[in-house]
Amino acid sequence: MCRKCKKTRKLNRRLLLKGAAAGAAGVAISPIIGRSPLFAGGVGGNNKFLIVINMLGGNDGLNMVIPGGDARGAYETRRPNIQLSALNPDTGELNRPTGSEGLPLLGLENGYDLHYSMTGLRQMWLNGELHVVNKVGYPQANLSHFTSQDIYSSGMREYGGPNGDGRGWLGRFSDLYCSNPAEPMGVVSVGLGRRRDFEGDLTEALITNASNATEENGGPLSTFRVDGEDFAYRRDHDLRIQTIAQALDIESTPPTEPATSIYTTEKSAAGLVERVKAGVDGWDDPETYNLGTSLGRYLRGVSQLLQGINDFRTKVFYTGMGGFDTHSIQLNRHESLMTQLDDAVSAFRADLVARNLWDRCAVVVISEFGRRNFENGSEGTDHGHGNCFMVVGGNVNGGLSGLYQESEIADVNQVVYDPTKAPNEAGGGYDFREIYADIIGSHLNLNPANVFPETYNNTGSLNLFV
């Protein structure tokens, strides 16, 4: 069945649950149900926050963090034209695109290296602020982008099965910890739209774009507004805005989808315009972000929202970038992607350090799967199993987890990194939910238990935070 059909299957659930709740309580967002008594005062936890950066398309983790030890030789053999560490026997030079000739890899530990363009992240490594986790996945890996993204978004391997609840992991998180209607910005999406990750029963994520607007024009969040009318109609326009606000206010929530969701979104948008404006007004543009890249723009948007963080009490910002499906000619493309990621995260770090927010921040860099250990005939890589995650932040416990075994990289078949096996076994790995759970528990100081209702293997050994 196509992803869209799976995706829309949740509509009925929403219709039943939200429709029923709306009928009973009059509003779709209940202030009471689902709020943890532990954190009944509001969003709960501490004042820290998380940024999720999703590299859509399946990032080539093996070329972002290059394996060391025994696995290094296998890596070089299996990827003659795209490996980044040894001289190419045909050319006698390192495999580098024009302009990057001879650039050295950046050392981590145990013989592992970082992509040669990631100088900013290397510095974070040296500061002890970067933790790399290799061999991250979930049981019975799936090679479809869309199925795999759905698994990551839902936080469930069997999201369509009898235990699937149609919610995303951040929807469950938000239902648990951000359901206070007075603080509706617990989860904010910047630039990637309404992803399945945010689908909750009680809460709606705030979904923003992030424009290129300059400081004079109000910054990236300045387009989060209702435009005005021509001069002659300005008074009437004010009347229009009053009229629609009153109409939506008097009206009860329509009981059936899609009207319920549209109405809720519209009311939420109208209610947040002034609040967002007030929170981000007088923004100070750090001018360090590369606005030519989507991730630079989006993280700049996060930065502007962080102006109001104490008021908004946002726990999770979700953003990312596309283009990682490097089936062909990947040296150039992947270098560009790694550079964009490194530039954006580095600018973000500098910005947050200057605002004294870096110690409150954790960034997790994810992707739906990695790529094969061997290259294909197009100097690219096809879909593979398992991947490399990075966690960065002021309180991150720097390190490298998940060392590859030689056989994992040398295997001519695709290796499956199955987290039901221990990470130090061949073909074992970490379940992605262990990383999220550690962030929720150790960084945000909230209980991750009900965010991931499906049983998964948690080694408990990562200790991503100081």
């Binding site: 829309t8 309404r194 923003t208 879909h383």
Partner: protein
């Protein structure tokens, strides 16, 4: 027909009761208070008169010496009403009382009283709690397909052997399964409706679940009969062509369902509108090097908005979403190929004896031929790396997405080994520069193709592309001789093999996608499978399938009408078409460019899908900021309505029908936005509240042009952003 229930009502069985109290039975004058009989309307059969424990049954009491003000007491509870008819007759309502046989007493204001022991019985009536389908497409729901035939289970209490079931007043074939469960086979209904379900116990006590069963037409592919209502016509033209003007809607109502749909499905290509849009490319008409992606977007937006063959563009946009190819990161020297791909989509619904303005022939809805063409479409060869796949070094990208996203659905009838084998078949194309030209084209090189035996979907053979017909070289107007049918592929191609080896999966996949797009989200298997069987029977021609779909009762069901969330393109193009306006009054290019900017802000613009899976559906379209961007688009559009004569007057209701309520209703109809009563009141108040230059409220004057311009702009703005305005 006379039902048993009606017969029961007409039966009155009088029952003599023994005398009691201080009175004596005799022929003398009625001196003493006497209770002679109790008769309950509509109920009979017990040894003594009875009624339900809930109370409220009408009982006729006969006797003697009844005086006004007499009390009638069942056990210890007074009858809530006592109607004194005469000194020998009372009509009373029973009180609520637990089950059991009880005495009945009369207390006369004269002080006399009489009690008859064991005079009346309270019996627990049946109670219907739920009515749920056991099987069929509504299994587990209190809904029924209008076609009928499903078995339903009634759960409740106090059902008795011999009980009967009535649906919407008519008896159905029931089965008694015990005191808490009955079942029946539903007979169906001609239209969508909510109906009552009633259980009648043999003694005559009954229970009705009001609106216990909702009939839905969403599963019915039978043809809709009767003429089109304005709502149905608006819906049909919206689904088949984004939206329509009042004139077009009225024409559709006049022509009727079948003729309207036939005309939309079969049309003559409009070369003129194509020529208008092509001028946007200026001197760099495709193929040319360095065509910007935005130019292609403007080109198509103009066609989406202005092509009178609305379905040609609507179906092409569906195919663009399905075979989602983005020009964003495409090499500019090859981006012209995307223009050809969109035209391939535009040719799909064009009859085979027709051509586009550029000479490319129609495909007449042939899904098989279309999939063969898309497999070697030039922008697809670039987008999914087909041009880089060589013998010995196959690239899996296209083979995987061909099945997962284009033809079968993820994991439906194939596995990873099939993908790797199919990737071998899709080898052999490369980029090349046509001699002396600055743009890139593709050519097939037989020596780059893996002509060996493959094992795909359970068949072994030397499969390749379905055919490598010479590419039409659009620049030179000649066929390239290096691209000839490869004799190495003796066993045909992967596309034909897929349809041959997996007809069920392949037909259901595309039919599910079509039904999701044109009917409603999450179409049921019964709908999908019926359409799929038709597609296979029609030898992969989609025209009869689409015809059936658009004519079906499902198309006009409440699930379909306004059942989807408008995508940004549907919202923008639909608004411009139904309000018959543009984002620039005279300059088509600027109008298209502005629409492109608005679509980008709202989150969807042609030629730039997020990935090969295309755009989201359903509530995934709803975002906080994109909702504001939708409102801001409408604001920008109404700003173009500034000339009374040119823009406003054509939109207005006739003179004399411009009162505030008429004004609101007129524009609500025009935009097909249904508003609630409270909101209508608010909007009427808004029209009546005209502000002068100092901000003072003055009466709305329907003859004043300034008032009409102001309120036309305002009402369109309000209606389009109202939540129903986002429902497709």
């Amino acid at each position: 027909m006379v039902t048993r229930s009606a017969l029961l009502v007409s039966l009155i069985v009088a029952m003599a009761l023994g005398c009691g109290g201080g009175g004596g039975e005799g022929s003398g004058p009625p001196q003493a208070l006497t209770l002679e009989s109790l008769t309950v309307s509509g109920l009979s059969g017990g040894a003594i008169p009875f009624a339900g424990t809930g109370g409220g049954a009408l009982v006729t009491v006969r006797g003697k010496a009844f005086l006004p003000g007499i009390r009638v007491v069942f056990d210890n509870t007074d009858a809530p009403t006592v109607n004194h008819i005469s000194d020998t007759e009372l009509r009373v309502r029973t009180p609520a009382h637990p089950q059991g046989v009880v005495p009945v007493s009369l207390f006369s204001p004269s002080g006399e009283s009489t009690t008859v022991p064991n005079a009346f019985e309270f019996i627990s009536p049946p109670l219907v709690i739920t009515v749920l389908a056991n099987d069929g497409p509504t299994q587990g729901e209190p809904r029924a397909a209008i076609a009928g035939g499903a078995t339903f289970t009634i759960t409740g209490s106090n059902f008795k052997f011999g009980a009967e079931v009535y649906v919407n007043g008519s008896p159905v074939t029931e089965a008694y399964l015990g005191p808490t469960t009955m079942s029946f086979v539903d007979k169906g209904n001609t239209t969508e409706a909510s109906v009552d379900v009633r259980v009648l116990n043999p003694e005559g006590l009954d229970s009705t679940l009001v609106a216990g069963l909702a009939y839905t037409a969403e599963f019915s592919l039978a043809s809709q009969t009767g003429s089109l209502t304005i709502r149905q016509a608006t819906h049909l033209l919206r689904r088949m062509g984004f939206g329509a003007t009042q004139v077009e809607i009225n024409a559709a109502i006049g022509a009727g369902t079948a003729a309207t749909i036939s005309a939309l499905l079969s049309y003559t290509n409009d070369d003129t509108v194509e020529q208008e849009a092509l001028t946007f490319y200026g001197a760099n008409q495709p193929p040319a090097a360095s065509i910007g992606n935005a130019t292609g977007q403007y080109w198509w937006i103009h066609l989406l908005r202005h092509n009178s063959n609305a379905f040609q563009e609507r179906l092409a946009f569906f195919l663009h979403d399905h075979f989602a190819t983005s020009g964003r990161d495409m090499s500019s020297a090859v981006r012209w190929a995307l223009y050809n791909q969109i035209n391939l989509f535009r040719r799909f619904s064009l009859a085979t004896d027709q051509t586009l303005g550029n000479g490319d022939p129609g495909l007449g809805y042939d899904w098989k031929q279309f999939c063969i063409e898309i497999a070697k479409d030039r922008s697809m060869l670039d987008w999914l790396d087909g041009r880089l796949s060589r013998v010995g070094r196959p690239n899996e990208n296209f083979a995987r997405e061909l099945w997962e996203l284009f033809m079968l659905g993820e994991g439906e009838g194939y596995d990873e080994a099939d993908i790797q084998e199919a990737a071998r078949a899709f080898t052999g194309f490369v980029w090349y520069f046509p001699s002396g030209q600055p743009y890139l084209d593709f050519t097939y090189v037989p020596s780059f193709h893996d002509a060996g035996e493959k094992d795909i979907l359970g068949e072994k053979g030397r499969f390749g592309y379905d055919d490598i017909t010479p590419f039409w070289n659009a620049h030179t107007g000649t066929a390239d001789p290096t691209q000839a049918t490869d004799p190495a592929d003796t066993d045909g191609g992967v596309v034909a093999l897929t349809l041959r080896a997996r007809p069920t999966e392949a037909s259901r996949f595309i039919c599910r996608k079509l039904a999701t797009h044109f009917l409603y989200d999450e179409p049921h298997d019964v709908v999908v499978n019926e359409l799929a069987a038709d597609l296979v029977a029609a030898n992969w021609n989609l025209k009869p399938v689409l015809q059936k779909l658009f004519r079906s009762k499902a198309m006009y069901s409440s699930a379909a009408i306004k059942g989807k969330v408008k995508s940004p393109v549907e919202y923008v193009i639909g608004f411009l078409k139904s309000a018959d306006t543009n984002l620039h009054p005279t300059n088509d290019f600027l109008a298209a460019a502005r629409a492109q900017q608005r679509m980008t802000a709202i989150g969807q613009v042609p030629l730039d899908p997020p990935d090969v899976n295309g755009w989201p559906v359903g509530t995934a379209w709803l975002g906080t900021q994109t909702m504001l961007e939708r409102i801001n688009f409408v604001n920008a559009a109404v700003k173009e309505l500034d000339s009374f004569d040119e823009h406003i007057e054509p939109l207005l209701p006739p003179v004399g029908q411009r009162s505030a309520p008429q004004f609101v209703d007129h524009f609500a109809n025009m935009l097909d936005v249904r508003i609630s009563g409270t909101t209508r009141t608010q909007f009427i108040a808004y029209v009546n509240n005209m502000l002068d230059g100092s901000g003072n409220s003055i009466p709305y004057d329907p003859t004043d042009e300034t008032h009409l311009i102001t309120k036309t702009r305002g009402l369109i703005y309000l209606l389009a952003q109202y939540y129903n305005g986002h429902q497709e």
